[in-house]
């Protein structure tokens, strides 16, 4: 018996998207964005000769030559762990401290609040090179050169304005009456903050943390000048090992894999929080 060629749809079923071309466009955009990264990753698995070949080769014999060079010969995993420690610690401190600053700016009226708010933002405008020497001298005097503690302090200070600026807006979006209700029930302001505001803020805090983490992870200029062998992080190490007077493309590719993989993993794990955080405040209640 021949099967019927029509289908029966419930009136309550969601609308089927007919605009297939949107998907075609989206796929193309994704491809355009993804192919360069794919190519860099592939280059990381090529040997030196294939990587510098004039004709791009999609099919090649994979080689771990570049990874061996970076991990075994150059000991880049030490730089990797330095980066992990510095990024996580500076993200934790800057978000924790910045959260309270942002809360104060969002909730309390005090003289010069707008000035403080603007001053915080201007810290972010300063190009790193303008303060490199003063910071170098400060680090030298304080014995912080080539230490992880030094980098954590610096990155925390560098990222604070960004955290404060981001979170102030998010705090303002949460109605004050939620906390007031808790305080009417007998909570202190801190208990109200912890039990009511903080859970509502989690997506925003997570999104902010991701951005701060990325900024700390990728920081190059200060890491180059303030560290030497003990506290050197990934960005200066990668530059030194893959780009000398010439460029070793497969080493550069392997380095890109090593430096981006943890970030991609981090973002994938927290993807839901990130999207939720980014979209928070876009719809006024």
């Amino acid at each position: 018996m021949k099967k019927p060629t029509y289908s029966i749809e419930s009136p309550a079923a969601p609308l089927v998207q007919r605009n297939w071309w949107v998907y075609v466009v989206l796929t193309l955009v994704c491809l355009v964005n993804f192919v360069p990264y794919l190519w860099v990753v592939m280059t990381g698995f090529m040997d030196g000769a294939s990587a510098s070949s004039a004709t791009p080769a999609w099919f090649f014999t994979p080689s771990l030559e570049a990874f061996h060079y970076l991990i075994v010969e150059k000991g880049i995993m030490k730089n990797f762990f330095n980066s992990v420690i510095v990024s996580l610690a500076s993200t934790f401190f800057s978000v924790t401290i910045g959260m309270f600053c942002a809360y104060a700016l969002a909730r309390y009226d005090f003289t010069g609040r707008d000035d403080v708010s603007f001053w915080v933002l201007t810290n972010r405008m300063m190009p790193p090179v303008a303060v490199l020497i003063p910071i170098f001298v400060t680090f030298q005097t304080a014995g912080l050169l080539d230490t992880l503690v030094g980098l954590v302090i610096l990155y925390t200070a560098m990222q604070l304005p960004f955290v404060v600026w981001m979170l102030t807006g998010y705090f303002r979006d949460i109605p004050r009456r939620y906390e007031e209700s808790a305080m009417v029930d007998g909570d202190t302001w801190f208990a109200a903050f912890r039990k009511v505001t903080l859970p509502l803020m989690m997506p925003s805090i997570t999104a902010t943390s991701i951005f701060v983490m990325i900024l700390s992870w990728n920081e190059f200029a200060f890491a180059t000048f303030l560290t030497s062998t003990q506290a050197k992080t990934m960005p200066p190490a990668i530059m030194a090992y893959s780009i000398g007077a010439d460029i070793r493309w497969n080493v550069l590719g392997a380095a890109v894999v090593l430096i981006t993989a943890p970030l991609i993993l981090f973002v994938l794990l927290l993807q839901r929080q990130l999207i939720s955080g980014l979209s928070q405040g876009t719809v006024r209640k």
Partner: protein, 474 residues
Amino acid sequence: MNMVKLSAVTAAGLSLMLLALPAHAQTEAQKALAGKTVHFLAPSMPQFAALAKFFPEFEEKYGIKVVVDEVPFENYRQKSLVEMQQGTGTYDFFAVDVMWLAEYAAAGFLEPLMPYVKNADLTDADYDIDDFLPRVISGTGVFNDTLYTLPIGAGPVGTTFRADIAEKAGFKLPERFSPEFTTKYMYDAAKKVNNPESNMIGFANIPGRWFWGVTYLPYLFAYQTPETKGDEYVDKDWKITINNERTVASIDYFLSLKEFMPADSANWGIGEATAVYQAGNAFGTWNYQDFVKGFFEDSETQAKVAGKNVHLHTPAGPDGVIDPWFGAWSLGVSKDSKNKEAAWTFMQWVTSKDVQARATQYGAGPSRHSTYKSETLAKYQPWWPGVYDFMLKETNPDERVRVPEWAEISDVMGEEGNRVWIGEIDSKTAAANMEKRMTDAMRKGGYYIPGRSDLPKQQWRDLTYYDRLPSEWN
């Protein structure tokens, strides 16, 4: 046992005994340094990578640990300057480019080395400083008659071409230093094979702003006449002389190579040009002799071009003048080091006859007579022995004038030259601007103060200054 067997056994026994003995007995002072760690700041370049292969051997022999901090070449100068100026003492010795020596030595960043060389407690008995080529050691490390650094390879810049491409096009490239290889010859040869549609450009030039002090200078010098040699930048009274028709002609020639380059090449540096050549997409490019092995002749990483190259000098100009280029990297002990003796122990070991000869296998360049004559060099880098006489008699360590203002002069040249490359100004305007700005730099340096009598000597006018025996320096 017959005589042959007896000889063989004796020889084997002697060989074993020799192997068991250390090459040099250590002094008590050297032994006392065991357990120390020395820190070395170096740019990531092939010749330093070659030296790094010897660190474990040194550590085993002397018990001194060497920690190297590699920094991208682009950041190296700033990083080393900040460390030196602040006197951090983080690094015990630095890699020093010849063009920075005057600046570093004048500022007191480096330790004079001759007291160490002459200290028998710290220097191996067969170190033999007079084995270094006189111009190489004086050109690399001497400032105001004092030795500050030791060379780890010095050489000319040149050009590298694909012999196989030339052959296909029906011509054979000349020998190194052949008078046949002129600026005109180079341009014509590049034009003959230039075919961008088939991914082959005639010449991968390096017009990036920073590089003019390295890549354009060979043409500035080649365009001199025998009469104007020595007056390329300044006259005998230190007045800037660069605004002349020879400079303009040399810029125009440098610019003529733009014809072979892609439209986006204005910022090409060594990395970009070399990558294009390594990929087999250029007939010729610039080279520095110390980079040849690492960049062009490493069959593992440069499979496309290794073994197919001809390494020539930069071309002779219209009047037959060739560039007397002298380039070198060296090692200098930091004035602020807390381990100067340990740093010196490493430096004298790594620049010894034995290590220098062996390092050539991995791409290090020669600085000693013995290294030039070693079989290892002839086997692994056969393009070197051909420049021995040039480095002995022709090269001019003062091509890049040895004054603290050189960095600014070089920068001015690059900025104005690059403006010509991008079409913002013409070569005549560039030469005029260079003269004006270089004059300002020299004025700032106090060269034109009336009655001043302590101006530096222009040693390039009589190069015998650099031909002193190395041991005669302070």
